[in-house]
Symmetry: C2
Subunit: 558 residues, 2 copies
């Protein structure tokens, strides 16, 4: 149900325009554009991971059509934190113009720089920290500490002549965080006193009642599981979850075990986090994966990726007996992560295969080994009451999350007409404390597949889905265009159609006959001959096999 | 990780052989074969629904290879209850021999007969009820009432000279069921006193601690939601869940609303259930769907299918604005069903689209509108303690469910060596109270796609997955086999590859050159020429596009 396109009016000087390009109606590819007096400020440039109806797609990028011709007007990109859905598309934007300044915290920029290095891009960066203020053209920025499932996350307050905006990025409000770095509610209160004209909060968990449990409650559970494990322990989590890895390191140390990190992204990110002091490695606990085999089985913990059942990740390969660590009886695997909707079958397949090998699998469903990184409804209510924003635009979430978040705002007394449920491409203008929806741009999905960016269309994906469901039948025939006589062929081949090619013996004469008849009826052009072949084969396969494979006729004149 | 094949020894007279053909390591296509003295008894013949890695497959049947040549030896098929995963493959078996007697309860047989009618098969049936005993060849059967999410479910005790088996089918132990028909623990106790040699229990919820909540707790929630609904209410559930529909009818009646059933399977099944007295329709509540539009919006409840996000079901079509009932602001949709793993994305898409239309969506995550139909761990412990079976073979579940169920058995004191984790095709022999695993048959998946049964192979599905991920490139070329000169073509086409066909201009000369060189190197046969084309195009597409589409070369001699 895409929104109807509505071109916004020309932007007047002194009015702030807000256009979310991604992250609304989806969990991923977060990107918001702010425009004032001809200058653009961008907050986050993330990727979205494909669902099963987008086969073969590696990544999905925000559609930057509205700013593609205006890259020179961008004064900077603020990155709220280092997760892929907030920084993953930065390389694709910097490919177009590599000197746009990136602003973010120490850890966020370190992760972006490592990523950009793989794309051979050296960015211009400005490291900022909580409390810091910066000016970029007409935008006054103030950074505010927030707590999330990756350290060093920042919200950003944007002061302009049109009013003040608070953009949270992802956050929760763990009141006893491992690193003592709270979401700064004192700053929220101060901003609230000053007057927040537009608030853009994280909506991911807005439909979950109550409060996200404490991250620190997980440590004792991990420690108990590791204490009882008779042999090796493998913990799988996200490669960016520094706090979770911290708890694994601590739990291992408490049990006299060493820890080996497995997987390129895990090793790289934790190296960065340790170098910057975000990960505190207990003395002598870490061991190189290559040497881990020398440690006795009951003295080692492996920390890996693959908690979402990704087929190529370490954990799936272990479960398939396709990894150099051959897990079995007595080993324990802990999935210390959420189960992202859509990954259930893959994750349960990994759990089943591990169980089959004799491995004990501990996961969210049978032990408290994960908490979310996002604020639940109860926490969001605190925010609304502390900030008392004039207008609210919930971001980062599926439609149901945005709606739930808006409902929370309304329950705290924000007028419903000041609460905006928007889509990607919705254009909102702020002036004198008043927000108006003034347009709707028609944005698409930009698919990355291999080295192609943006060449895959939704029509191609539809073709792929048909191919997946039904396979295809290709028919090649070279004819005399004057009489439709087949000179070479019909050569008929199929894949995924799941019948022996000998079944086509029955349809070959029908094609020859149909081509002749078409010629007699005056058909002369290639396109019409191909239609004749398509219809003939389509009718036959539907009648005989009750199936609808893709039919690919190629008729050439010989 | 398929088990290694091991042919069982010839079966001795007086020994009972048990071979599960489906339902182990999966949730679906339940089917167990019992053999004694040359005769076969079958319990359940269900279907399995495909997962996303089995694209285009409609249904998956049990592999009946071990009994295909022995249909005349089958003395009967016991059907424990009327769910698709227990009766859905009956038509495919009866197609091979339509006079095998079917035994089941009134409702179960009525549902099977309706299904067989669509396949134009009129079966031989024997209606049985709880407490009833029957003899079929060497098998003495006693039927026992069990409680499940469809009425009239039966467990079956099988008495033989080799020992007694209790096969539960699906069940739970709701202690206050809507229809007062309890799982008959007195009968379980009596069978336990007599001595159960082998127990085959439902494992679906064995890994869920505690007890399945009462079905009757749902009624008040439904009633409260309907009472508060300002306009229409649409309830989606399974088309076989008579008790759930009963609660919707009662809640509607209590609120002075009429109920219209939507969807062929819902109307058919509830018609059968009402005719047989399993559904008690309050006076004047039901209204034909065609007349429901005349009822005021705040006086109607629609009862539909589609709670799993199935794209063609009523609810998905409503959510897409593609159904004659146009839902919108003020309407309420209740998803009164479980969320089967793997369906999350589809279901959430439906919820999002409904929310976008202004509909209020009530589902398991935000209200208590569903309870499971299967016994959780606490209930299974009761069973083990009441029955004290000598041996246990957990059935109906993924590997992790079977393992969890076996663990429960062991915790109640059943020796681990008497607790069998089997796979489909495992052969177990029972004699003198002793069960032995004596073989492992190599069974496959039998896929139904359109009108083809069993012609689709795993290789075809692999092809379909490659086509889905990458699309294909077909190359046709007619050559002079003596010198490899292309006479017609190369004609190159692609689908799902997502690049304009003009990109192939670059590879066409490479193909011509490679064919010539191959001829110079002595290649003469079609297969080798095709390999040359495949390699040439494959190398080009990998280098230029970093992609691996399926390459379909057709070289013919002109």
């Amino acid at each position: 149900m895409p929104a109807t396109e509505l071109q916004p009016p020309a932007l007047q000087p002194g009015t702030l325009r807000v256009i979310p390009l991604g992250g609304l109606g989806e969990v991923g590819r977060n990107m918001t554009v702010y425009e004032l007096n001809g200058k653009l400020l961008i907050v986050d440039v993330g990727v979205l991971f494909p669902e099963e109806h987008q086969p073969g797609v590696d990544l999905i990028l925000p559609d930057i059509a509205p700013i593609r011709e205006r890259l020179d007007d961008i004064v900077g990109i603020v990155l709220t934190h280092g997760h892929e859905d907030h920084i993953g598309a930065v390389p694709y934007l910097l490919r177009l113009k590599n000197d746009i300044p990136l602003l973010g915290s120490t850890l966020t920029l370190a992760l972006v720089e490592a990523k950009l290095k793989e794309h051979r891009i050296k960015p211009y960066t400005l490291t900022v920290r909580e409390g810091q203020r910066e000016h970029l053209g007409p935008f006054g920025l103030e950074f505010v500490a927030v707590n999330h499932s990756i350290p060093d996350a920042l919200a950003v307050a944007i002061r302009t002549e049109a009013g003040m905006v608070l953009h949270t990025g992802d956050f929760k409000m763990d009141q006893l965080p491992l690193d003592d770095r709270l979401t700064d509610l004192r700053a929220f209160a101060r901003l609230g006193e000053e007057g927040v004209d537009l608030f853009l909060p994280d909506s991911t968990n807005a439909d979950i009642p109550g409060f996200t449990p404490l991250e620190k409650d997980i440590g004792p559970v991990l420690e108990a599981v590791i204490a009882k494990a008779p042999r090796r322990v493998i913990v799988a989590s996200f490669a960016s979850h520094v706090h979770r890895v911290q708890q694994v390191l601590d739990a291992a140390a408490a049990n006299g075990r060493r820890v080996a990190l497995i997987g390129r992204s895990m090793v790289r990110n934790m190296g960065i986090a340790a170098d910057l002091g975000f990960l505190k490695v207990p003395e002598g606990v870490l061991i190189d994966f290559k040497k881990a085999g020398d440690v006795p089985d009951d003295r080692i913990v492996y920390m890996s990726t693959g908690s979402q059942g990704e087929p190529m990740a370490v954990l799936s390969r272990m479960a398939n007996g396709d990894h150099q660590i051959e897990v079995g009886e007595g080993d324990t695997v802990i999935l210390a992560s959420s189960l992202i909707p859509g990954n259930e079958n893959a994750v349960y397949r990994v759990i089943d295969n591990l169980t089959r090998l004799g491995v004990k699998v501990v996961h969210k469903a049978n032990a408290k080994v994960h908490v979310s990184g996002h604020a639940a409804a109860g926490e969001l209510l605190y925010c609304y009451n502390i900030l008392k924003p004039r207008n609210v635009l919930p971001v980062h979430g599926e439609f149901r999350h945005l709606t739930a978040n808006a409902q929370l705002a309304i329950e705290t007394g924000i007028p419903a007409e000041n609460t905006f449920i928007a889509e990607n491409g919705t254009v909102l203008d702020l002036r004198d404390g008043v927000v108006r929806m003034v347009g709707q741009l028609d944005l698409g999905y930009v698919y990355v597949d291999g080295s192609s960016v943006g060449t895959i269309t939704d029509a191609d994906l539809k073709d792929r889905r048909i191919l997946a469901e039904e396979g295809f039948i290709s028919i090649f025939v070279a004819i005399d265009p004057q009489n439709g006589r087949a000179i070479v062929g019909p050569e008929i081949h199929s894949r995924g159609f799941a019948e022996d090619d000998s079944v086509f013996d029955a349809v070959r004469p029908k094609i020859v006959k149909a081509l002749n008849e078409a010629a007699e009826n005056g058909v002369r052009d290639q396109h019409s001959y191909q239609q004749v072949v398509r219809r003939t084969v389509g009718r036959w396969v539907n009648t005989q096999h009750r199936r609808r494979p893709m039919i690919v006729p190629v008729v050439i004149e010989a």
